[in-house]
């Protein structure tokens, strides 16, 4: 199993101190190399779910198993390391570092896993069609090119699970398909599972498996 969530609970604190349940998931899983589109309303906990799966946010209780490892039991430093080594993230706003070139942004993804491989970084950028833009900074790239760099960066550490948060929301319609195809193809070619959050029916319709967050997340039941 690439991802398994079981009895996951996560609450935030309201300003008055009362708990605000956000996640209450009995079971959710993503199989190896499976590609899943996750849809849901704004404020429904999609981003929190991605943060929990990536280990950025710790759960209150439950099992968060990624590639066979229950990351909810890991110390924060280990979770960071695990994220660097086995999870790729593509953000809606790309989140490339402006001072770094395309190649350096990909290398940055490798730095924290301790496995810097320039040749592989170049090959990833070639794979996303940016072999001619290696040394351009984000400001010198088009929006579509920036998103390609972020896909290459997410693949930098040969992850087992790719998390994509509205990866096409910031690109125009003409580029949406290109980005999506690129992301899905890259995941397939690299045997990476994909969990993609989207609002767009055009995007979710391209996936064999589409999950509505509200269908397996009942925070009200935890309240």
């Amino acid at each position: 199993m690439s991802l398994l969530l079981q009895d996951v609970h996560k609450s935030y604190r309201e300003p008055d101190g009362r708990p605000l349940p956000v996640l209450n998931i009995a079971r959710f899983e993503v199989k190896p190399t499976e590609q899943v589109a996750l849809i849901g309303q704004s404020g429904g906990g999609k981003t929190t779910l991605l943060n929990v799966v990536s280990g950025i946010t710790a759960v209150d209780s439950g099992l968060v198993q990624v590639d066979g490892v229950d990351i909810s039991r890991l110390h924060e430093v280990s979770r960071d390391r695990f994220r660097a080594e086995r999870i790729g993230i593509v953000f809606q706003t790309f989140n490339l570092l402006p001072a770094f070139s395309a190649l350096e942004n990909v290398l940055l993804g490798m730095t924290f896993s301790g496995r810097v491989d320039r040749t592989y970084a170049r090959s990833l950028l070639e794979q996303v069609g940016l072999s001619h833009r290696l040394h351009h900074r984000p400001g010198q790239l088009s929006v579509g090119e920036q998103q390609r760099v972020s896909v290459a960066r997410a693949l930098a550490n040969r992850p087992k699970l790719m998390l994509a948060d509205e990866p096409t929301a910031s690109v125009d319609m003409a580029h949406q398909d290109t980005i999506l195809t690129l992301l899905r193809t890259a995941c397939s070619e690299n045997n990476v599972s994909l969990l993609l959050v989207t609002h767009s029916p055009e995007v979710s319709s391209q996936f064999d498996r589409v999950e509505e967050l509200a269908a397996f997340n009942q925070p009200e039941a935890a309240a």
Binding site: D80, F100, L108
Partner: protein
């Protein structure tokens, strides 16, 4: 790519603020280097010049510092002279190895730089002026062989354009309208020493005593001898009756007394004596004995100058060091403000790195390293600038002031600059580093 490369990128991203803050540290450190080198040079001048002698002996009553300043540094005049008899007797004392007489007070003319002229003996040049440092002389030169020979310091030669064969006259007591008729010829030019010797003219004591007004009037000399040595004045007057008569006749006719066979010893005086003793104990004993008497005082020039350094120059040194230290500290605050202000803009950057797997410790280290690179980098640049300035200025300063500055001079205290900057950088980086450490990744990513 490693953390240092990430730091370097970050610094380059804010190149203007980064370079200005690092430059401020660099200038502070360069200033400190300049102060240290100047301080080192001044310290050496004060501590080494004349340190080759065990004691400086001069007349009692004038204070130790004026005696050393006038004898070694040619600053001011001593309180009084010493009788020739004292010089001769001092040579015979136990523990005394060598006594070098010095007679001074005359100078070259104003046009020729008003350099002090010292009458002495050739053996002055045979003793080290500082431990392990002996006088060098330009090839072909001679050390006061003839009565009217002169040896000049390197700076005197440079300023006046004098060389072997150049001639000059002496101005008596520095009074410009009283010029001695006799001409002295330069027969030796000293190699630069970096001490006041470079700015001094040396003539043979024999020549010095043959000049008008360099003999104490016989009547005064007899009285002084009687007082200092407790001798019967009438007996002395009887002994030197011819001398007194000759002096009275010259006075009546308004002329100088000419001593064609040289000045009688009773009329000879020396300004100061440089004494080398067989050991330090002998120097101490001699100094104590002299103190018990009424004629002379003998002081160790190193001790006197060390006291001056500690009390005056040392305090100035500390003040300058503190001042430059404060300048560097202010530069450090500048770096802190620059980094700290940038933290709000960098929250997202830090959150992205965390999302990519950077630990809290790693983002803390990145910020800390940035402070270290800017501070220590600025410090290293400052060391280069400071020593570059010293290297470039050394020949100019030497040419203008006669002070010898080693262009490659390095003060041991400089070894502390980088560790101190490292400590300062750590302090600077801690607070912004903690801000990075505490960044709420989930919040910062989606802000």
């Amino acid at each position: 790519m490693n953390l240092l490369a990430i730091v370097w990128k970050s610094i380059r991203q804010r190149s203007l603020a980064s370079s200005l803050t690092a430059l401020s540290v660099a200038l502070g450190v360069a200033l400190m280097i300049a102060v240290l080198v100047i301080n080192g040079v001044v310290g050496r001048i004060f501590s080494q010049s004349g340190s080759g002698y065990s004691l400086v002996v001069g007349a009692q009553g004038g204070g130790e510092l004026p005696l050393v300043l006038s004898t070694i540094y040619r600053i001011g005049k001593p309180y009084d002279n010493l009788p020739w008899r004292f010089y001769e007797e001092l040579q015979e004392r136990a523990g005394v190895e060598q006594v070098i007489p010095l007679c001074f007070g005359d100078t070259t003319s104003e046009e020729e730089g008003s350099f002090p002229i010292i009458g002495t003996l050739p053996r002055f040049f045979g003793t080290d002026y500082a431990p392990g440092r002996s006088f060098g002389i330009k090839k072909g030169g001679e050390i006061l062989k003839g009565t009217w020979d002169a040896v000049i310091g390197a700076e005197v030669a440079r300023v006046n354009g004098w060389d072997m064969g150049s001639t000059f006259k002496m101005v008596h007591g520095g009074v410009q309208d009283h010029v001695h008729n006799e001409k002295f010829t330069v027969t030796g030019v000293l190699a630069p020493t970096g001490t006041p010797n470079d700015k001094t003219v040396y003539i043979h004591l024999r020549g010095f005593f043959m000049l008008d007004d360099h003999a104490k009037p016989a009547s005064e000399a007899i009285e002084r001898n009687a007082v200092l040595y407790g001798e019967d004045i009438e007996a002395l007057r009887a002994e030197y009756a011819d001398l007194l008569a000759k002096e009275a006749a010259a006075k009546k006719s308004g002329q100088h007394v000419h001593h064609h066979d040289g000045i009688p010893d009773i009329q000879k005086e020396v300004t100061a004596l440089l004494v080398l003793t067989k050991n330090d104990v002998a120097a101490l004993q001699l100094s104590s004995r002299l103190k018990e008497g009424v004629i002379a005082q003998g002081v160790n020039p190193i001790i006197v100058m060390r006291q001056l350094m500690d009390n005056l120059v040392g305090n100035i040194r500390y003040a300058l060091m503190i001042l430059t230290g404060l300048i560097i500290a202010v530069s450090g605050i500048g770096i802190f403000v620059s980094i700290y202000n940038s933290m709000s803009d960098r929250r997202k950057e830090i959150a992205i790195m965390r999302a990519l797997g950077a630990s809290r410790q790693q983002v803390f280290s990145i910020i800390l390293l940035e402070a270290i690179v800017l501070t220590v980098g600025g410090g290293l640049l400052g060391l280069l600038i400071g020593h570059g300035l010293v290297f470039a200025a050394a020949p100019i300063v030497t040419a203008r002031s006669g002070l010898l500055i080693d262009p490659m001079h390095f003060e041991p205290i400089e070894l502390w600059i980088i560790p101190a900057l490292l400590a300062m950088a750590t302090l600077i980086g801690i607070l912004p580093g903690l801000t990075a450490y505490r960044t709420d990744v989930a919040k910062a990513l989606y802000d």
